[in-house]
Amino acid sequence: MIVTVTLNPAVDEEYVVPEFRPGGWFRATKVQRSPGGKGINVSLVLKQLGLETAAMGFLAGFSGEYIRDSLRRAQITTNFLHVRGETRTNVYIVDEVGKVETGLAEPGPYIGEEEIARFLSNYERILKRTSLVVLGGSLPPGIPQDFYCELIRIARQRDIPTFLDAAGAPLLAGLDEGPTYAKVDQRFMAAYEGVALNSLDNLIEAVTRVHSLGVEWVIASYRTYGNVFFTPEGIFLAEFDRKGIVSLFGSGESLVAGLLLSGREGMGTKERILFGMAAALENALHVEKGVRDRSSVEKLISRIRFEKLS
């Protein structure tokens, strides 16, 4: 079973506002509320694609109950630790006319040492029946910045592959421990490398350096609708065009879910990338997070432009 870890889940609130600008007062034409956080999103998409997962992390307060209840109704296995405080709410404003998205995130509840210890004992217990761990998103206050390092190390001691999808300092620390897969965003990589990664050559160089830390698969975003994939079989670029795109919100996690599902089914590298990118594209074609189903993902594979870089 795949286990997803979301240390700082969120209730995602997506508002569609036709012409959004700061300083105004707007009425949303559509509101979408869903349980979120990177790991939880991956669990939800894998469920939509027909794969069972377990989700774990920390939940708190009213929002935490909402998330647990939603996951329960989706029949996703859960093992969250309930803590004091309130799980955060992340607000996204989708401007349909200007085609821009604005986001607003909260820090999340404070996690104490005792709670971290309890989480770790749950983590070790669930690893006994885990085939792969997805570690995703930001860290709530109280969690040490190198926490992903520890989680990757514990999984590796048991020969369990890991997929790290994070940003900033927690990602940097986690990369040192060499997760099997890492998804990094271009802006972060630019800051990390200290060079602008607007050229494909620079990006390839940066991704290669991450690979040298022991990461088998590195996925880095390239321009708005593309990703560079460093894989054991070479470096590839995959992109889709912007036709029909409504919101990229959640697309990154659909890509992760698509790559994992296709990997589990034994598809080759190219097929995995195409399937993952098609899942990301399907997610982007509607306001609702996630994918409709497997067949609607498969129909979009022909829209992915695929190129071998080296």
């Binding site: 329960r72 859960t78 093992n79 004992s121 749950n122 217990r125």
Partner: protein, 152 residues
């Protein structure tokens, strides 16, 4: 209907050496009346409910009295509760656990829970915890289901 379609796939569990104070905190924060106790591999060893804890915090003779008016005063109850708070859950948990498999029917599970005066029970696969069933959820499900024709 099979129970795996109704059960709560939650793996919240305690280990036998978890102190009762922590068990109480988890019961309250997770808003549940009972939690499975498992070994490091997730195998169910017991089940601890708030009823077991209350019983442990009351004096031994309470069972014979069968009347709550004999409950000792608040201060005494608190003192006992704090004292047993340091005990491991293995000391008060039910070791003879009523558990179900994912393939059991909702009706069978509901009847078994009612017969054993249970509100919650673990669902296991090869002895390993995979979820929990709640009596209230089951009652709701059975009420919503279409009536099966009664035997002539």
């Amino acid at each position: 209907m099979r129970i795996c379609e109704v059960m709560d796939r939650d793996l919240t569990a305690l280990s036998p050496d978890t102190p009762l104070s922590e068990a109480i905190e988890i019961l309250s924060r997770h808003r549940v009346s009972g939690i499975p106790v498992v070994d490091p591999s997730g195998k169910v060893l017991g089940f601890v409910s708030e009823k077991d804890i209350v019983k442990a915090a009351l004096p031994g003779y309470f069972d014979y009295l069968q009347d709550p008016s004999f409950i000792p005063d608040y201060g005494q109850f608190q003192k006992r509760l704090k004292k047993i708070g340091l005990d491991p859950v293995s000391k008060v948990m039910a070791k003879d656990v009523v558990s179900f498999s994912e393939e059991d029917s909702d009706f069978y599970v509901a009847i078994t829970l009612i017969r054993n005066h249970l509100k919650r029970a673990p669902v296991t696969k090869n002895g390993v915890l995979v979820g929990v069933v709640n009596r209230a959820d089951l009652l709701e499900r059975i009420m919503m289901e279409e009536e099966s024709p009664s035997p002539a």
